[in-house]
């Protein structure tokens, strides 16, 4: 894992709360065009927002084909054959490049960065940009009304007999 060159698009703390896949995908699309990339590879779903939207939206902005939930990617004669993990099993599709792919857990095993490479990475080029550099404003499209923890679990009630259990359940209205 690792790269020889990176671009860090910095989002200030106050804007981070409003950052959504729609903003990220606009930035990635612009970046892909600037870099003349032929492949955009992202994870299928982040564990914080659980959205599963960035790959799809990026492909839409670029008007590129998409291969999402990829568990296997093969290049044959300039086309990509992507095996996708879907509800019914596996689906294999053929895409022309350039394309956007999102990875499923089953694609491979992550390789940890080695210490020598981490040391080398300190000397690699890291360009810092802002969303504005890509013409993107982090304007919230949604307003979070409420965010709360689930109610704390109440202690159970110990009853003496099966008859008491049934009576208690009736009292609580859980059985007729």
């Amino acid at each position: 894992m690792g790269a020889d060159r990176a671009v860090h698009v910095e989002v200030p703390e106050k804007d981070y709360a409003s950052l959504q896949p729609i903003h990220v995908s606009k930035i990635l699309a612009k970046l892909a065009q600037q870099e003349e990339a032929s492949l955009v590879l992202v994870g299928k779903q982040a564990i914080d927002d659980d959205c599963n939207q960035t790959a799809q939206m990026t492909a839409a902005y670029l008007d590129w084909p998409q291969g999402t939930f990829a568990s296997k990617i093969e290049k044959t004669n300039g086309d990509l054959h992507v095996t996708r993990e879907i509800d019914g099993g596996l689906e294999t599709i053929k895409l022309k490049l350039p394309a956007v792919l999102s990875s499923d857990l089953r694609l491979n095993e992550p390789r940890y960065a080695t210490l020598p490479n981490i040391m080398k990475a300190k000397k690699k080029k890291l360009d810092k940009k802002t969303p504005q550099d890509f013409g993107v404003e982090i304007k919230p499209h949604m307003e979070i009304l409420k965010c709360e923890e689930p109610p704390t679990r109440q202690a159970g009630i110990v009853v003496e007999s099966a008859a008491d259990l049934v009576a208690k359940l009736r009292e609580l209205g859980t059985i007729p």
Partner: protein
């Protein structure tokens, strides 16, 4: 593996698995301090973004403090050492409740000449001198490149000669493991490998891309000179993982070779100069007992350490007696050749009877003095380790 935690005299068994905080990680110092319940895989996952790892791998996802208490080892001891070389400091609760820091509280230097080497007194003490509650461990950088290989030999001798010559050439091989035909057969069935049945070496090389290639070429030459063949490379992470998992699962693979079997593993370690002879003679003994049990020879031959994984049906008449005979033969042969009855599994309950021959009475008396000094009432894991 040797009954070390069985309360043969009654008593309290202390389970420290919930004491599982990673206290601190110092990448620049190459150290990490963990509580008793932290396991080696959870530490390695925690530190993965530092590019470091703790390489000692006894197969199971063991607790690091447990590994310290038993002087654990693994398949890459030939390059990275065992727990003896990789524990910097221990926090130990003594029999009277005092808390000991073997290198001083909060200290973790690469080397020290201060005081007695209490750290290594406690490493491998199997709970008889104190309870290990925290360990400061030595970390290593994850090597830039790792490649594995498998090669086959016409007989055990040529495989072991290859190992000895590789060590003599000072090639810094990371893993060099021997598997006999029975082990390969068991692995093929249990772990879905597809190896030819022959005495086999599993190898792994760590280093920069260039040095790994250099090591592999050097070992390749030695393998050819000894009549080895069918060199297969495992370059991809997933392939290497499958290979080493199969090696680590040999206990289960061997056990599965007889349905419903029990299994026992010997653990002798002998000088490299005696390894070929000891292995060949041991194989003869295993074959002689074939009617009663199935033995699989496998091991860390770069260290002179090998296991005979013995599967047996406890209900088969005489099988248990034959097992005890065979195990005794293997241990006594190792001792007769200047070896030890245990390279890594420890003495526990089962191997105390060999210590007098292996270490001698003066050694036993010194150990007993130390034990009595630290545990006058003999409450710490009584009946274990020291006869």
């Amino acid at each position: 593996m040797e009954g070390g935690v069985v309360a043969t005299q009654g008593g309290v068994c202390v389970d420290l698995t919930k004491m599982d905080r990673i206290i601190e990680v110092h990448p620049e110092n190459f150290t990490a301090t963990v509580e008793a319940g932290v396991t080696r895989i959870s530490l390695n996952e925690y530190i993965r973004d530092t590019g470091m790892w703790f390489p000692i791998d006894p197969g199971a996802d063991a607790s690091l403090c447990g590994m310290a208490a038993t002087s654990a080892s693994g398949t890459n001891a030939v390059r990275y050492g065992t727990m003896r070389e990789n524990v910097v400091n221990l926090e130990v609760v003594l029999a009277d409740g005092r808390v000991l820091h073997t290198q001083g509280k909060g200290r973790a230097t690469k080397k020290t000449a201060a005081g007695y080497n209490l750290t290594n007194l406690l490493v491998g003490s199997e709970g008889t001198l104190g309870i290990v509650t925290q360990a400061t461990l030595r970390l290593y950088g994850i090597p830039e490149a790792m490649i594995s290989a498998v090669c086959l030999f016409p007989d055990i001798r040529s495989a072991i000669d290859t190992v000895v010559q590789t060590m003599q050439c000072s090639i810094p091989i990371a893993r060099i493991e021997f598997l006999d035909e029975a082990s390969i057969d068991a692995s093929n069935r249990y772990s879905n490998l597809n190896q030819k049945l022959a005495p086999t070496l599993f190898l792994e090389f760590h280093g920069s891309k260039l040095s790994v290639q250099e090591q592999a070429d050097a070992v390749g030459a030695i393998v050819s000179e000894n009549g080895g063949s069918d060199f297969q490379w495992a370059l991809k992470f997933e392939e290497r993982k499958k290979l080493w998992k199969a090696r680590h699962d040999l206990y289960y693979a061997g056990k599965a070779s007889i349905p419903g079997a029990h299994a026992y593993s010997t653990d002798v370690c002998v000088p490299l100069s005696k390894l070929s002879e000891v292995l060949t003679e041991t194989k003869k003994d295993v074959d002689a007992a074939a009617k009663f049990l199935k033995g699989h020879l496998v091991g860390h031959v770069g260290d002179g350490n090998f296991h005979v994984l013995i599967a047996y049906d406890p209900n088969l008449p005489d099988a248990v007696d034959k097992l005890h005979d065979l195990v005794d033969k293997i241990n006594r042969r190792a001792l007769a050749h200047g070896g030890t009855c245990t390279g890594e599994h420890g003495i526990g309950l089962g191997k105390r009877k060999y210590l007098a021959e292996e270490l001698g009475e003066v050694n036993l008396d010194v150990m007993r003095s130390i034990k009595t000094a630290l545990d006058p009432n003999h409450i710490m894991n009584p009946g274990k380790k020291i006869p």
